[in-house]
Amino acid sequence: MTISDVSPRPADAGAPRPPLLEVTGLTKHFPITRGVLRRQIGAVKAVDGIDFTVAAGETLGLVGESGCGKTTTGRMLTRLEEPTGGRIVFDGRDITHLSVARMRPLRRDVQMVFQDPYSSLNPRHTVGTIVGAPYRLQSVKTEHGTKRAVQDLLERVGLSPEHYNRYPHEFSGGQRQRIGIARALALRPKLIVADEPVSALDVSIQAQVINLLEDLQDEFGLTYVVIAHDLSVVRHISDRVAVMYLGHIVEIGPRQAVYEKPQHPYTSALLSAVPVPDVTRRDNRERIRLQGDPPSPIDPPPACPFHTRCWKAQEVCRTVTPPLVEFAPGQRAACHFPENAPDGPYEPGTDSIVAPAS
């Protein structure tokens, strides 16, 4: 197998890159049924109409609290979950409702790394079988045989080729996550969706795996969608960040803009809640304390989903759904009262500032 067809990662992050993945209005509602007839009485609106694009070679981080729909989004991108509505266009092809058989060739290009390295590897298979499975399933012939290819992969992710005949239980959590990454890399995919790739690992091991993911991206020109709840990890590996709340994207933009000048109050609240390992700043930090828990996605609040916990909420937030508006170059947020945009929405193409929307 050659990797010469993989274009290197563009060095200039600012230049426009063709989108590898385009998601529009993506929705997933899980029905709630009751009674012998399984009549539908409601739906869990896990993902409720989200739009984003991911350019080739970039990393998009998806953050949010548990239950905000970030994992469901990741599972829809890899088609492990059937979308209820919307469109997923991957590399120019609409893959939203492809059948299992027609999806299969595309699985070479889209792979997933799972959160829990303990349950995502079959305990009865050897590492060789696990990492070699993609070759067998896709009937891919490799130059020197599958075993050699698997051993190369193991070496690439920092394991040793002798591990080929071992079983998952013989490895530590960090090593298992490396096995999962090797399996995802086997077919040289274009897109890897990583769902909480490091949250089950210790801090020291976390850094090893994050560095590995970055090295592999540079080497193979991979595109990542990384789902994580740890905001410092997301800042470290993402080029762009999308913040989700209750099935909606409330803010999306370049990493630096989102972290330094967040527009949505929810983003500000999330950032200020992160404990900072700096004792000297313990007492003089300004903090935004959100009250309570996120509302239930079965019966989300009308209009702006965040208004029940937002300290800025006014009447308009309860009645008018805020659209995703561009407030700074590339940075869009769905809020009537953005945090860092005193001059209102940003008009692309011109440097003039338009008046705030009434």
Binding site: E65, Q175, V203, I205, H229, S232, R255, V276
Partner: protein
């Protein structure tokens, strides 16, 4: 506490230096014999903790943090654990005490907040009934009074409509609320020692911030001694007055929180500090991980247990390969177990480690 000294207490050999600290753990060892060999989960751990103070215990999984806390609570008794050493709580020795006596202290004198509230609470019983049960074991009150107390406690920890939620089952609570209910249960008898084992690991950041605030508030109210066990240095920095860093069942560094974050001296602590991405600093291009993985507790490396992963191992070779370093005081209240010369450690911290943080 003016609990009458019971008969068995006089049988325990008293040390010459009677403990003055509220909690005094001395040379605690907890070993588990297994088919593969002896697992030395905790191997000679000593520390003290005063009332009104918070001690943070930091380390990777398998470093013996949780085993230590269960050992203090006496929850290894009756299992196959081999425990030695001493745990002095408010003038009483607990390792040699009868399980029945320790059981009576548990809940009242010392209480624990567990990591995973879903598995720590009984799914068949109402949240309120579980709090009432704990309260009535230690206090002679009527069911009605106990129920009122449970509602009070739930309200105190910030559960909305406590008089209605008291009759809910654990599964009807969200993760953050379950953790609050756990805290309410642990605090229902005003414990003097509160052990929180990864209290916020299962929670989202916004809820984590609420829980950390709550622990801080309740501590100042009850003046209890708090032990926070976590792998998250951010959580420790928020809560702890003192920090104990554990590696492979032993303490490797101990000192005030300020000291450990501004002048850490053990290479493992350096590794922990530099391997985590930090929101309060500019983004680095590369993280600096600790090489390798934590050792097996059956075959702990010879000499300094950290030497196979230590960047500075050669500087103190061959001692680091053969001799187990002991905890020595480098500045008042700051103790480190490392073979490197103190001056050399400070130079490495100032020149090689701190600039990269």
């Amino acid at each position: 506490m003016n609990r009458p000294v019971e008969e068995w207490a006089s049988l325990v050999p008293m040390e010459d230096d009677a403990p003055t600290a509220f909690l005094d753990v001395r040379d605690l060892r907890i070993h588990f014999p297994t088919d593969d060999g002896l697992v030395k989960s905790v191997d000679g751990l000593s520390f003290t903790l005063e009332r009104g103070r918070t001690l943070g215990i930091v380390g990777e999984s398998g470093s013996g943090k949780s085993v230590t806390s269960l050992g203090i609570l006496g929850l290894h008794k009756g299992q196959h654990a081999r425990i030695s050493g001493q745990v002095w709580l408010d003038g009483e020795e607990l390792v040699g005490a009868s399980p029945e006596h320790v059981r009576r202290l548990r809940g009242k004198k010392m209480a624990m907040i567990f990591q995973d509230p879903l598995s720590a609470m009984h799914p068949f019983y109402k949240v309120g009934d579980q709090i009432v049960e704990a309260y009535r074991v230690h206090n002679e009150v009527s069911k009605k009074q106990a129920r009122k107390h449970a509602i009070d406690m739930l309200g105190r920890v910030g559960i909305p409509q406590p008089s209605e939620r008291v009759d809910d089952y654990p599964h009807q609570f969200s993760g953050g609320m379950r953790q609050r209910a756990m805290i309410a249960m642990a605090l229902s008898c005003d414990p003097e020692l509160l052990i929180a084992d990864e209290p916020t690991t299962a929670l989202d950041v916004t809820v984590q911030a609420q829980i950390l605030d709550l622990v801080r508030e309740l501590q100042s109210e009850f003046n209890s001694a708090v032990m926070v066990i976590t792998h998250d240095l951010g959580v420790v920095a928020e809560l702890a007055d003192d920090i104990l860093v554990m590696y492979a069942g032993k303490a490797v560094e101990q000192g005030s929180a300020r000291e450990l974050f501004t002048a850490a001296e053990h290479p493992y602590t350096w590794g922990l500090l530099s391997s985590m991405p930090r929101l309060d600093r500019d983004r680095q291009d590369r993280l600096v991980p600790i090489a390798g993985s934590p050792p097996s507790l059956i075959n702990v490396p010879e000499g300094c247990a950290f030497h196979p992963r230590c960047r500075f191992c050669e500087l103190s070779a061959p001692r680091s390969l053969t001799e187990v370093p002991v905890m020595t005081e480098t500045s008042p209240g700051h103790r480190v177990a490392c073979h490197l010369e103190p001056a050399e450690r400070r130079r490495l911290w100032a020149e090689e480690v701190q600039p990269l943080l």
